[in-house]
């Protein structure tokens, strides 16, 4: 069988391109540790969040050395807590659920982005670096007030975070 020389070049570069794309994704998983939204959380009763140990009081709490858990409730049309205050240079796991319909949880301009489904808990773990204010938006159409559904994620210094938590914050 005769294959034109140019076609051989093209076949070889196509295979290299595929390997490069697969290699990139593999590198992302192994190097920086990029992961997917976890689906390991058990389902919960979306109608009884006020009786749920984690979501009756949406909050950020310390769960380990420099590790924090943020329990977030999305509902028409906002997020709780608001703002979500996180300490800088830490690892934060968000547990997000919805009290009513499907919402989105997108920390604007970052990779923290997941759907929020009633009855399910979306779990994403992120590394938080420098103090900064991020916007938080709902990116799934959820009703008449969808376009005003927003919140804030404020990354503050460790000292400011501790001051805030020990200061008897209402949330």
């Amino acid at each position: 069988m005769h294959i034109h020389a140019y076609e051989k070049i093209w076949l070889a570069t196509s295979v290299l391109l595929i390997l490069f794309l697969l290699g990139s994704v593999t590198y992302g998983a192994v190097g920086p540790g990029v992961a997917m939204v976890s689906d390991t959380e058990p389902t919960i009763d979306a109608g009884a969040l006020d009786e749920d140990e984690r979501f009756s009081e949406p909050r950020v709490e310390q769960v380990g050395e420099n590790e924090y858990a943020a329990y977030v409730v999305a509902r028409q049309f906002g997020f709780q807590p608001d703002p979500i205050v996180l300490p800088a240079n830490s690892t934060v796991t968000f547990y997000i659920t919805s009290a009513d319909v499907i919402h989105g949880f997108e920390v604007a301009g970052t990779n923290a982005n997941t759907m929020v489904v009633p009855g399910e808990v979306s779990e994403i773990t992120v590394r938080v670096e420098e103090p900064q204010e991020y916007g938080l938006i709902c990116n799934e159409y959820c009703g008449a007030g969808h376009h005003v559904m927003e919140g804030k994620v404020n990354v503050v210094s460790q000292a400011a975070f501790e001051e805030r938590t020990s200061g008897g914050d209402g949330e």
């Binding site: 069988m1 005769h2 391109l17 923290a112 994403i124 992120v126």
Partner: protein, 58 residues
């Protein structure tokens, strides 16, 4: 597909090993597309995606 082509090869193979059909313009164009594709991917994945804050790690 390859087997079919093999079966018809003697009749179809007019060029032989000497490349009379030489679409260098097409090759160049495809080469440019290829470079754009690779550069776009490098930008999208390594710079835009991995360079953003709050990379999801678990």
């Amino acid at each position: 597909m390859a087997q079919n082509e093999t079966a018809h090869a003697p009749a179809d193979d007019v060029g032989g090993d000497t490349e009379e059909f030489d679409p260098i313009g097409t090759l160049t164009l495809i080469g440019i597309y290829f470079v754009i594709l690779v550069l776009s991917w490098v930008y999208i994945y390594y710079i835009e995606f991995l360079g953003r804050d709050l990379v999801v790690v678990g």
